[in-house]
């Protein structure tokens, strides 16, 4: 029942290719930002503030005379890094909690799921806003807050998957053969429950990037002078009339990267689910 080789003979779904290209462009931009950026993203040229696009500054300058392209490229590093960190930590903790709850059942399952219920009782990013609001705006607090609300989705998904698979014949056979529980879970069960988890990771990264930008927009996320797309939009709001590009450019970047991750998630559903493919 291993799905890992299932996609090799099929053409890649269009959504995976489109999403992969979009996300790939931003990943490359983030990796190569120090070399691609024409200027230091924090360098101010107050006498040139709000200047439009030119050969030296292809996307123009912001309200403090900083190069928008450079801030956009370095902002991609921040966005993707926060997205990756949140997804990795939330996926790890949530996945482990969910697998444990589904596999162990009983009191462990009940305790973990009640904790998940409490987190889910707070709508959207309210708990993250409250946590960062109380802890203070800082990158580590932002990641911590987003992991604190993000782990639940992965936990519930993996728990449901493990519950659905734990009574399958090959698991029962493993048990009958006397294989230790951890080995059955890690070596045999987890590889089978991974496909929907991967889809969730892709969509979760889109959510984490949007959440980071939202918190930074509110002044609760990445702090200046570190560039962040959300904070760039917030700063640009005061110049909608005289320099709308300040708002337009970072917003388009967020839209593109989130769209890319959504395409990737949708495409992965198709790629990893043999029933849907047929």
């Amino acid at each position: 029942m291993n799905v890992t080789g299932a996609g090799s003979a099929r053409p890649w779904p269009r959504d995976v290719l489109l999403g992969g290209i979009l996300v790939g462009v931003f990943v490359l931009a983030a990796l190569l930002a120090p070399w691609l950026a024409p200027c230091d993203p924090a360098a101010q040229r107050l006498e040139q503030r709000l200047e439009g696009p030119s050969a030296a500054h292809p996307l123009g300058l912001d309200e403090l005379g900083r190069d928008i392209l450079s801030r956009l490229l370095h902002g991609a590093r921040v966005s993707l890094l926060v997205g990756l960190a949140v997804v990795a930590l939330a996926g790890l903790f949530g996945g482990a909690a969910g697998a444990l709850a589904g596999w162990a059942g009983g009191a462990v399952d009940a305790a973990l799921m009640r904790l998940a219920d409490v987190v889910l009782a707070f709508p959207g990013i309210l708990l993250a806003i409250a946590l960062v609001g109380v802890l203070g705006p800082a990158l580590r607090h932002l990641v911590l807050a987003l992991v604190a609300i993000g782990w639940v989705g992965y936990a519930r998904l993996l728990r449901a998957q493990v519950l659905a698979w734990r009574e399958r014949e090959f698991v029962l056979a493993g048990r009958a053969l006397g294989l230790p529980g951890w080995r059955l879970l890690v070596r045999h069960l987890l590889p089978n429950v991974l496909p929907p988890f991967l889809v969730q990771l892709s969509l979760g990264m889109a959510g984490a990037i949007l959440a980071e930008a939202s918190l930074s927009f509110l002044g609760l996320g990445i702090q200046p002078p570190t560039p962040s797309w959300g904070a760039m939009i917030n700063a640009g709001r005061g110049h909608l009339l005289d320099a709308p590009h300040l708002t337009l450019v970072p917003g388009l970047a967020i839209l593109m990267v989130v769209l890319g991750l959504s395409f990737l998630g949708d495409g992965l559903v198709e790629l990893l689910d043999p029933e849907r493919r047929s």
Binding site: I129, L248, L255
Partner: protein, 311 residues
């Protein structure tokens, strides 16, 4: 009412207590001394002691917790440090604005999603369907804090049709409701499209068509009412999304609601007000969720009669 619904109703106060406890702990997560954080640098020791006593932070944690719960039962959420007024009164003044905005956004989202989703489902695989899918994808990916300024640029600054910000009459509600409602409209379009398409393929619709019922009647009279049952649940759950989305939207449009007050309170380090606002938003969400579950059971006899949720 079946067993699972009764359990759901009985479980609500327990969840509410857990939420209240989590919010109580928020203040105790403040790194270092919360009183020093609230007063800022240069505060005098006597002033700090007075505030500590005012907030009850000089008492043992268990006593603070019990006093907090007793206060909640009386509707007492403490006093705002900045506004020097009861938190409950401040929240009470802002709730109508937030509910007005959330309800307007929901109505706008339904008004867009319902016809678009049905239209796409009845033309599966054709241009209209692809257009609806594109709208749904872009709609959920578009950050509201970007859409808001774009709408201001187009309709307020460019065309001069609508006010830039504030809450003064129906015209001022249009842009905030559009900004807040777009994400929900996109999600609902996708849901309605999938649900209606599924219903249209079910045997009872195929039989009705074979017996000569018009496609329009089969769609609107039979397929749509059944397709809307799961959509109602999503609407209820998404109301929470609207409440948190309102935090951003209210900030963009200077809408005098609960979300804007929360952000103001965070910036002012007015922790009692932060606690109160978070608790109220979570409380509204909890009640709307419960109401949604009860409504879902009312609409779907399979749930009401204990047959479990449909697949």
């Amino acid at each position: 009412m079946n067993g699972s619904l009764l359990r759901r109703v009985a479980w609500t106060p327990v969840t509410a207590l857990a939420v209240a406890s989590a919010v109580f702990l928020l203040l105790h997560l403040v790194p270092g001394d919360p009183v020093a954080m609230m007063l800022g640098e240069g505060a005098e020791a006597a002033e700090a002691e007075q505030l500590r006593a005012e907030l009850g932070l000089d008492r043992p944690l268990a006593e603070q917790y019990l006093r907090y719960l007793a206060g909640l039962l009386r509707g007492d959420l403490g006093s705002s440090l900045h506004f020097r007024r009861p938190v409950a009164a401040l929240l009470g003044e802002t709730v109508p604005a937030t509910l007005e905005l959330a309800c307007a956004a929901m109505v706008a989202a339904i008004a867009v999603a319902l016809p678009l989703g049905v239209f796409a489902a009845s033309r599966r695989g054709r241009a209209a369907d692809r257009l609806a899918r594109g709208f749904a994808l872009v709609g959920v990916s578009l950050p509201s804090f970007w859409l808001g300024p774009l709408l201001i640029l187009a309709f307020s600054i460019g065309l001069g049709w609508l006010p830039v910000s504030g809450r003064a009459g129906p015209a001022s509600l249009v842009l905030p409701a559009m900004t807040l409602g777009l994400g929900l409209a996109a999600l609902l379009t996708r849901m309605v499209r999938t649900a209606v398409a599924e219903e249209l393929g079910r045997p009872y619709v195929v039989t009705a068509l074979a017996r000569g019922l018009s496609r329009r009647a089969a769609l609107w009279r039979h397929a749509l009412p059944n397709a809307l049952i799961p959509v109602v649940t999503v609407l209820g759950l998404q109301f929470g999304g609207l409440l948190t989305g309102a935090i951003l939207t209210e900030t963009i449009f200077a809408w005098p609601g609960l979300g804007r007050l929360l952000i103001q309170a965070i910036r002012l380090r007015d922790y009692p007000l932060v606690q109160g606002a978070v608790l109220l938003i979570a409380g509204i969400y909890l009640l709307v969720n419960l109401a949604t579950d009860l409504l879902y059971a009312r609409l779907d006899p399979r749930v009401r009669l204990g047959g479990g949720q449909p697949a």
